[in-house]
């Protein structure tokens, strides 16, 4: 009789379920069962795809010690709560919830299953058995911004965002701060399209920006649509988001920011297996390999690659931080004094734009 089974009986009185669940969930020699809850489909070429790659990496690295399951297209809200309990009931001892909107559900379900470990991506609410994790994508944005500052001829970039949440705002600010270190007149126009996945709208937003003089495009949505437009229009280029998208835009992709969740998943699963896991906020970046810079595109000259690598390596060894002052806000008023670096807490609630961003209405 396993621990899982006792819990099941205690919580649900689910004797009837055992014949159905028993065969698969409990027959083996107790691998750690790890569940993943995804807000979209694993085939989205972006965010959810990257999490699924991390899941596969976890299976590959820890082999028979783990067993993974995932549930995709889970709406944010009560449906997520049900899915989390479903996974808990099936014997998952570690569950990753990979969208911000799952936060309430994670906290609620974690209360009901105190001996299961939960990790919530991009969230900020923690509990004894709930940790949070994210990746410092803005470090990658600084590398992209450096390339943009060097290569843009018009000095204008466009940025397609979903919603103006801190994570997106942070990325925009990081991008333009880096670009303005090269070209002090560099500006960026964010366009929010109120969706994570509407490829046709992303493409039209890219067209609208290119038609109005931008020659560099970056996006914080899930797919390659904007890059494809950059390729079609032959502008200077853009950046892959979440994964290497050079298949979609072999010329236009200057480089890409790769979400590499695998190491975090391996580390967390190992900690749970060893009994050393504790609730904390984990926010690694380039240094830990959670954020990676993909291959540089054929258009990027050697000198620019060197500059980009310098920014990347500076962030890896800690000698460079993009959010170190002086930083002015978009009105030109000083927001961060020289030598001061924004704290993580300040970053996580960032709701203001730096100089060079043409703020949306």
């Amino acid at each position: 009789m396993t621990l899982n089974r006792r819990n099941l009986l205690k919580i649900g009185g689910a004797a009837a379920a055992l014949p159905l669940l028993g065969s698969k969930a409990f027959a083996q020699t107790e691998p750690l069962k790890v569940g993943f809850v995804l807000v979209g489909t694993i085939n989205d070429n972006g965010w959810n795809y990257a999490h699924n790659q991390g899941r596969l990496y976890l299976e590959e690295q820890l082999g028979d010690a783990v067993e993974t399951v995932y549930v995709e297209n889970v709406p944010e809200g009560p449906d997520c709560e049900r899915v989390l309990r479903e996974l808990a009931q099936q014997g998952c001892k570690l569950i990753f919830a990979t969208s911000f909107g799952f936060g309430d559900s994670v906290i609620k379900v974690a209360e009901q299953f105190p001996d299961i470990t939960f990790e919530h991506a991009t969230g900020y609410m923690r509990a004894d058995n709930v940790g949070t994790y994210n990746a410092r994508f803005h470090e990658g944005r600084a590398v992209c911004g450096t390339i943009a500052g060097h290569m843009s001829q018009t000095g204008k970039a466009g940025y397609i965002g979903s919603f103006p949440i801190p994570e997106v705002v942070m990325g925009i600010n990081s991008f333009v701060l880096a670009a303005r270190k090269i070209n002090p007149d560099f500006t960026i126009t964010p366009v929010y399209i109120s969706t994570w996945n509407d490829p046709a709208k992303e493409a039209d937003a890219a067209r609208a920006m290119i038609d109005q003089g931008i020659d560099i495009i970056a996006q914080h949505t899930d797919g390659p649509a904007a890059l494809q437009v950059a390729e079609e229009r032959g502008i200077v280029g853009g950046f892959g988001q979440g994964a290497d998208m050079s298949a979609f835009a072999p010329q236009a992709q200057l480089t890409s920011i790769i979400d590499n969740w695998g190491p975090h998943y391996v580390k967390t699963a190992q900690a749970v297996l060893d009994g050393t896991w504790e609730s904390k906020d984990s926010w690694p970046g380039l240094a830990e390999g959670e954020v990676q810079i993909g291959p540089y595109g054929p258009k990027v000259p050697e000198a620019v690659i060197a500059a980009a690598e310098a920014v990347k390596n500076g962030q890896i060894d800690g000698s460079f931080n993009i959010f170190t002052g002086p930083i002015n806000d978009h009105t030109g008023a000083e927001k961060v004094a020289a030598g001061v670096t924004l704290t993580d807490a300040e970053l996580l609630s960032m709701d203001w734009y730096v100089e060079g961003v043409i703020p949306p209405a």
């Binding site: 669940l21 399951v69 809200g77 009560p78 049900r82 479903e86 919603f163 949440i165 801190p166 960032m350």
Partner: protein, 360 residues
């Protein structure tokens, strides 16, 4: 070539009325298993996980209740309207407006609420849904504008209203900039009726609503009026029932119930207003209403069947790795069979000998 002809029954078949939904579910299981096995999936496993596991596993029952409750409440309202031949397909919008009205009460009374908060939210929810249902009613009765089209269009406008409210005026000041309202205060949250479960007060309310509606529809003058106007508008006119009044009642009742469901969802499982609040309950409830044969008691059954496929679809994803899209195909298949079976209630199938001038 074999040809069939439909022959109208003198009376709708009681047997078919109850047998066809059961047959539809059964056919979906059999044919679904065959098709999915043929294209390389574990067809039998899929059927087992989608249709049986949620029922055999008592731990899933609370999930079924919570998922079915809004479907039943909205479906009951729609079945009343459809009986009266009023085609409200904008229940999703009315559900949203109910949720928004209740949210407004919860936010306005935050910190100063009391025992009266939940009842006030309930009233606001029903009023919000009914008010949104009143727009198609007004346009239909005054200007003879098709209510199918107006109620559908208004739904899409209401979705945008949520996005706007949670992004700007109602945004949680402590929410790190994320587009959602603050969590409601405890007086504005539905209590759980069984400690240790997730079954909130909305679940028994759904059953009560269905029972009351059944009683009213079968025993009262109101119910008689709705049924007569729907079934025989000419006769109803002679009988002194006003068609316009029926349209108003149908839309107010179905809108009000959808609004109630919205309030129960936001104060129950959601606990705050979020952009993900519209979860297609209003559209799914249309199917639930038909599956339940426009009978409030049937709607209870239908709401549970739909809930089974949702809950079971997630089980199938985790246990046999069946993708979410395959569950959608199963659901659609079941609906197709159900809708196809409809005709057997009123008609019987007769084989006819092909003739030279047979016209379809």
């Amino acid at each position: 070539m074999m040809q069939f002809r439909l022959e109208k029954r003198r009376e709708p078949s009681r047997f078919m009325l109850y047998a066809t939904p059961v047959a539809a579910v059964f056919l979906t299981m059999v044919i679904g298993a065959i098709i999915f096995s043929a294209i390389g999936f574990d067809g039998i496993g899929a059927v087992r996980e989608i249709f049986l596991t949620p029922l055999t596993n008592s731990y899933k029952w609370q999930d079924l209740g919570v998922k079915a409750a809004p479907l039943i409440i909205i479906g009951v309202g729609l079945s009343i309207a459809y009986r009266a031949n009023v085609w409200n397909i904008g229940a999703e919008g009315q559900y949203i407006m109910g949720g928004l009205a209740a949210t407004w009460v919860a936010l306005a009374s935050h910190g100063s609420g009391g025992w009266w908060t939940l009842p006030a939210m309930m009233l606001a929810g029903m009023a919000g849904g009914a008010a949104y249902g009143a727009i198609p009613a007004l346009l239909k009765t005054r200007l003879n504008v098709n209510e199918i089209l107006t109620s559908l269009m208004l739904t899409y406008a209401s979705v945008q209203l949520i996005y706007y409210l949670v992004r700007a005026p109602w945004k949680d000041p402590m929410g790190m900039g994320f587009p959602q309202t603050r969590r409601f205060a405890s007086e504005a949250l539905l209590p759980n009726i069984f400690p240790g479960t997730i079954v909130h007060a909305g679940v028994p309310i759904a059953v009560i609503v269905a029972l009351i509606a059944w009683f009213i529809m079968s025993r009262s003058v109101f119910g008689y009026q709705m049924r007569v106007v729907g079934a025989a508008p000419h006769a109803a006119r002679y009988g002194g029932f006003s068609e316009n009044k029926t349209i108003w009642l149908a839309l107010l009742v179905s809108g009000g119930l959808a609004g109630l469901a919205g309030m129960l969802e936001v104060a129950g499982p959601f606990q705050r207003m979020v952009p993900g609040f519209p979860t297609n309950y209003g559209f799914t409830a249309i199917i639930v209403a038909f599956l339940g044969r426009l009978n409030p008691l049937g709607v209870i059954f239908a709401g549970i069947v739909m809930a089974i496929t949702f809950v079971g679809g997630e089980v199938a994803q985790t246990t046999i790795g069946l993708s979410n899209s395959a569950t959608g195909v199963f659901q659609a298949m079941m609906l197709f069979f159900l809708l196809a079976g409809d005709i057997l209630v009123r008609y019987r199938l007769k084989r006819v000998v092909p003739q030279t001038e047979a016209r379809v």
